[in-house]
Amino acid sequence: MVKIILIVDDEADIRDSVKLILTKNGFKVETAVSGDDALKKLKKIKPDLVLMDIMMPGTPTKEVVKQIKAKVAYLSVVRVSEAEKEELLKAKNVVDFIQKPFDIDELLKRVKKLTGAK
């Protein structure tokens, strides 16, 4: 079954490049430009994984994530300490923390693992 990924990032470059790679690898990809936009889209789709930028304009990501039932992996340009990373991963639906800039192959590997895709 095709896995659905929702990419939430205010940077068009990130949305476009990640979408391209994931689509080429058999994922169905939707995108959103902010947390608020993601919440609207999530009324219509049920993604297997949400890749979400941790810092975006609009409603803070920590508030948005609380309203999401799907699994979330943070994409972060922000540097956090190891303890803070562990704390963020304690939220029940937060499953990964991926530091930007990321290696696209590594990202793909992690998305496949988190969604159980082959």
């Binding site: 803070p60 922000v78 300490s81 963020l88």
Partner: protein, 175 residues
């Protein structure tokens, strides 16, 4: 890093440093190492905890550094202040940020490091960011505090960096 920031700040009150993304983490710790005396460190891209962790690894004493952290509150529940840091609600809260910086200036910190101008552009358009830079640099000029503004070398933000350069005494490209 070839530039002697301390020496540049002896001659100039406000310095704008253009930093290549690749060397960014190393450069920012090298700069702090060069400065002695009290430092106010405004962070818009790393949490207070992560900076402390990073500086500790590089054996930088943070006792003389007071942080203004505009990141922690956006990702976790952070208090208004902790030992060594004030927390601002987000990098988009420019008024709150101005007030926190004003507080540092009133306490005569020897240096202020602003890390970084380019991060402001994630949340705000160029016009309010330029107005903010103008306001902050005017405030700094009313004091003896020396300031270093970082800007990442990002092509899309050349216009902002150029505009910010007009408020600085000197713009240096770190190689």
């Amino acid at each position: 890093m070839k530039i002697n920031v301390k020496k540049e700040l002896d001659k100039n009150q406000i310095l704008l440093l253009k930093i290549p993304s690749a060397d960014y983490s190393k450069d920012i710790t090298d700069i702090v190492k060069q400065l002695d005396g009290s430092i106010g460190y405004v962070t818009l891209n790393k949490t207070f905890d992560s900076l402390k962790e990073e500086f500790k690894k590089k054996k930088i004493n943070t006792d003389n550094i007071l942080f203004i952290d505009a990141i922690s509150k956006t990702i976790k529940n952070a208090p208004e202040m902790a030992e060594g840091s004030f927390f601002v609600s987000s990098p988009a809260a420019l008024t709150e940020l101005s007030l926190a910086i004003d507080r540092l200036l009133r306490h005569n910190f020897k240096y202020i490091i602003f890390d970084s101008l380019t991060n402001l552009m994630i949340y705000e358009k160029r016009a309010p960011v330029s107005k903010f830079i103008s306001f902050i640099t005017n405030k700094i000029r009313q004091t003896k505090t020396k300031a270093v503004f970082y800007a990442l070398n990002i092509k899309e933000q050349d216009a902002l960096i150029e505009e910010a350069g007009m408020f600085a005494d000197k713009v240096e490209q770190i190689k």
